[in-house]
Symmetry: C2
Subunit: 475 residues, 2 copies
C-alpha cells in the first residue's frame, strides 16, 4: 500500500512518495504494465498537492521505473526485472496476529492435492470431474438460457435468503427420489457443495459440551469442521458393513452411501441398527451422501428410511456437474432448514443465483440424468478395471470390499511406506493420493487412495502396472 | 419421505405403502405430474417385494392418485386438487429442536425486503442493481469466453482453496488502486460478497471475551455476525464526519466510504483520528467498503492510509455487476488472509470458479470500468434529483449531509410513524424501506431509507411527490 506519507517525519513528502512507489513495485504491490492512478486521483487520496505527484511520476519515468504513454497515462515499466514477488518485512507496529487469531484453521490436518494433476500421465486423483465427460455444449446452452432477459432480471437481484425455485423443484423431483427421499421445498436448502451443509449444521448443532461421532477412518474436513466448533469428537469404527454407532454422543456424521474413504456401502441391516440406536439415544444424524449421484439405483439412504426427522441429509451436484460450480443441498426438518437458511444468509446470503438457474435448466431439460447415466457406466467400468488391475499388479495391497464409488482405498503391505511409494510413483508419472489425512496420525504412511473419477479407463491397467513396479523398486 | 414401512406394526406393508404415497402427495412431498420411481427401484429402496409396489401403483392409478403412461412410467396425477402444500404434523418421536439448536439466527433482527419490488411503480429499494444498466450482452460474451475448453478445464475442477488468478489480478490492478490500495495477491481473498468477508473475520478475530465496536445506527447483518460470534458489542456513535472510535474495544467494524445507513462519508480528519487511535490502543479495524465502487475518485480508504496492517478491507462486485453473482474480496495482512482462506475452505472451499472467471474476463476487457462510469453518472444524477425532490415534497423530513451513495436516510418528522407511512406509500405504489433494523429498538418507526440504485431517474420526483401526499394523508 502507499501507506507511507507521514507529515510528522523529517523526510520530504516528495521523497516519501517516490520511495513508496519504488517499494510497492519491488514488493509486487504494483506490477510491470500496471496503470498508475491519474495524478489528480492519487493526490486526492493521499491528501497532497497534485504537482508533487506529477513531479514524482516524471522523476520515476526518467529513472526507468515508470513509463509515460501519451494519451493513455503512466504505467509501471514493463522491462523491470520480473522475478517473484518479494514479501517485505511486516511493519514494526503491526498487530500480533498470533495473539489476535481466535482460531487457526490453516493448522488443521488437510488433504493436500497437487494442483498440476493434469500433467500426470496416470492421474489417480479423487474429487475431480473428468473433463472428457463434461457436457460442454449443453452446459453452454443452459448458461445462454440463464442469460435471457427475464432470467437475468431474476438472478441479478439480491435475494438474501431465497433459492432458485426451479433448481429446488428439480432437486426435489429428480434427484432426491433416486435416493428414496421425498421432500417439500421447505425441507430443502441450496448450499455451496455438501461441505457448506456440514458447516451450517456444525454451527447450529455442535459446539462445546456436545459430543460428535465421526467415522475413523473418515473425511478430514468433516472432522475439522466439528472440531473447530468446539465439540468433543468420538471415533466411530468402520467395518465391512459401514460405520458403527457406538457410545454416548449427541450427533454423528456418517457417509453410508460410500464410506469416506473406504468406499464401503452401509448394509441394510446396519442402516436399521443405526436408525434404531439413534432414535433410542436421541442422537441426531448427519448423512453426508456426497457420492449419492453415482450410487446404484435401488439403494437407499438413512434419510429415506428415517421415521423421526432426525436425519439431516447432504447432497451435491459436484460429482455430476463440476465441483467448481459449488452447488449442493441440505434436506432436513423444516425447523432446522429455516435456521440454516438464516445462518447462510449471515455468512454470504444465497448461493450464486446465476449458477442455480443454469443448473436448474440443466436438470429440467434432462441433461443431468443423461450425464449421470454416462458417468455411472464409466465408473462401473473403471471400478471393475481398477479392482482387476490391483489384484494383478498390487497383489499384496489390501482393499475393502466395495461395489462402486469414485476411489479405491488401499492398505500398503507390511514394511512398505506409502509416502515413499507416492514419491516414487510420481517420478514415474503416476499420481496417487495419501490416505494420511483420513486416519489417526499413528497410521501415517499406511494407506493410499486411488481416485478414478478423472483417469481414462484405458490407462488404469498401465498406471497400476507402473505403480506395482514402483512398489517393487522400493523393496 | 416414504418413511413409513414398518415390519413391526400390524398394518400390512401394502397398506402402509399406499397410505404413505397418498400422504406424501397431500403433504406436497410428491407433486402433480412428478414421475414416480420405477417399481424395481422403490422396492429395492424400501426392502420390499417388487410386486407389492406394482400392486399399490395399480391400485392408486385406479383411484385416480397416479397416472400410468405407457412406455413413460407412472406419474402423480395432474388433476389432483392443487392447493397449497400442507405441512403435516411432525412425527411424535422427532427431536426437540428448541433444545438441540445452539443458535437461532432466524430470531435476529434483519432487514426484510419485499421480493416483489419490481411490481411497484416507484421502487425506492436499496441493494438491487438496475437491470436497465446491466450490460447483458457483454456479460453474455464474457460468460461464453469463460465456457471455452481451456477455461472450463480450469474452473470445473475442485480447487479447494484457490482463487482465479485472472480475477485476483484484475481486482489488484483495476479496482483496489481506485481506493488507494496497493496489494500483492497473497493479501487478497475472493469472497461471496463483502458479507462473507465480515463472517470470516468475525470467526477469526471475534468471540467471547472480545469487544467489537459497531456503528449505531449501523448495518444489521454486521452487528448480527459479531453478536453470533459471542463477542460483546460496543455502540459507536455516528456524526457528520462519520463514526467515532471511542471507548475500549479489540475490534471495530466501520463503513467509512458511505456510512451504512446514513451515507455520511468519513472526513479525512476523522480517518486520521481513527487510525491514530486504533494504533495507540491496538484496535483491529474492519473496513466494510461495500459501496467503494461508486465512491468519488480521489477519495481514499482507511486501508489506503494505514501504515500498520491493522485494517482488513472488504469490497464487493455486487454494486457494479450484480448481487446475485456473489463476488467480493478481502484485502488484509497475509497472515490473516491465509487463515481466512483455510476457514473459507472449511465452509465451502472456493467461491464458484466459473463466476470468478467470467468476472475476471469482464474486468480484463474493460467492461467493468465502463459500466462503473455509467453507473456513477446515473447515481450522481439520481442523488441530486432525490435531494431536490425531498426538499420540495418532504420538507419536514431530515436527512444527513451526503455526497453520494445508493440510498438516502430520512428521519420522519415528530408525530409521524414511519411504519404507517411505509404502508400508506405501498398502497400508492411507492416502495420505501424501514430503517428499523439499523437503529436501537427504542427508535422503531423513526427512520426510513430511500434506495436509488434501482429506480428510474425520471420517476424520482413523481414518486416522492406521492410519498409527500401519503405523509399528508396520515397527518
Amino acid at each position: 500500500m502507499l501507506n507511507f506519507i507521514s507529515r510528522h517525519g523529517s523526510e520530504p513528502i516528495q521523497s516519501q512518495l517516490r520511495r513508496g512507489i519504488v517499494d510497492a513495485i519491488h514488493a509486487g504491490q504494483m506490477q510491470p504494465g500496471q496503470k498508475m492512478p491519474p495524478s489528480r486521483q492519487l493526490a486526492g487520496q493521499l491528501g497532497i498537492a497534485r504537482n508533487t505527484v506529477t513531479a514524482v511520476y516524471e522523476d520515476l519515468v526518467a529513472r526507468g521505473y515508470l513509463d509515460a504513454r501519451p494519451r493513455l497515462g503512466v504505467f509501471v515499466a514493463g522491462d523491470l526485472p520480473a522475478g517473484p514477488e518479494r514479501t517485505p518485512a511486516p511493519p514494526p507496529d503491526s498487530p500480533d496476529w498470533d495473539a489476535r487469531l481466535k482460531q487457526r484453521p490453516a493448522r488443521l490436518r488437510h488433504q493436500h492435492k497437487p494442483s498440476n494433476w493434469q500433467d500426470y500421465r496416470y492421474p489417480f486423483i479423487s474429487g475431480q470431474v473428468d473433463p472428457g465427460l463434461f457436457p460442454i455444449n449443453t452446459w453452454r446452452s443452459c448458461s445462454r438460457d440463464a442469460l435471457g432477459r427475464s432470467a437475468i432480471d431474476w438472478w441479478t437481484a439480491d435475494r438474501a435468503d431465497e433459492d432458485d425455485p426451479l433448481l429446488v423443484e428439480q432437486i426435489r423431483s429428480q434427484i432426491l427420489p433416486q435416493r428414496g427421499i421425498y421432500a417439500r421445498s421447505d425441507e430443502i436448502l441450496v448450499t455451496l457443495g455438501a461441505q457448506e451443509g456440514l458447516y451450517l449444521l456444525a454451527r447450529l448443532l455442535a459446539g462445546p459440551g456436545i459430543t460428535v461421532g465421526c467415522e475413523s477412518p473418515g473425511y478430514p474436513d468433516s472432522r475439522n469442521i466439528m472440531q473447530v466448533s468446539g465439540a468433543t469428537i468420538r471415533d466411530l469404527a468402520v467395518d465391512a458393513e459401514g460405520a458403527r454407532l457406538e457410545g454416548d454422543m449427541d450427533l454423528a456424521v456418517l457417509t453410508p452411501g460410500f464410506q469416506s474413504p473406504t468406499m464401503v456401502t452401509m448394509s441394510p441391516a446396519r442402516q436399521a441398527e443405526v436408525l434404531d440406536r439413534a432414535a433410542r439415544d436421541d442422537v441426531l444424524l448427519i448423512e453426508d451422501d456426497y457420492e449419492g449421484a453415482t450410487a446404484a439405483p435401488g439403494t437407499t439412504t438413512l434419510r429415506g428410511l428415517d421415521r423421526s426427522g432426525r436425519v439431516a441429509y447432504l447432497g451435491t451436484l459436484s460429482k455430476i456437474l463440476a465441483p467448481g460450480v459449488r452447488l449442493g443441498f441440505l434436506v432436513a426438518d423444516p425447523a432446522l432448514v429455516a435456521e440454516a437458511r438464516w445462518l447462510r444468509r449471515l455468512i454470504h446470503r444465497s448461493a450464486p443465483l446465476n449458477n442455480q438457474r443454469t443448473a436448474g435448466i440443466f436438470l429440467a431439460e434432462g441433461h443431468y440424468l443423461a450425464l449421470q447415466r454416462r458417468l455411472r457406466e464409466a465408473l462401473v467400468r473403471r471400478h471393475a478395471e481398477v479392482l482387476a488391475a490391483c489384484a494383478r499388479f498390487l497383489p499384496d495391497f489390501r482393499t475393502p470390499e466395495t461395489s462402486g464409488g469414485t476411489s479405491l482405498w488401499l492398505e500398503c503391505p507390511e514394511g512398505l511406506d506409502g509416502r515413499a511409494l507416492i514419491a516414487e510413483a510420481a517420478r514415474r508419472g503416476v499420481l496417487i493420493e495419501s490416505g494420511d489425512a483420513f486416519v489417526p496420525e499413528a497410521q501415517a504412511g499406511r494407506f493410499l487412495r486411488l481416485g478414478i473419477s478423472h483417469i481414462d479407463e484405458a490407462r488404469i491397467a498401465e498406471g497400476l502396472a507402473e505403480l506395482g513396479r514402483a512398489a517393487d523398486a522400493l523393496r
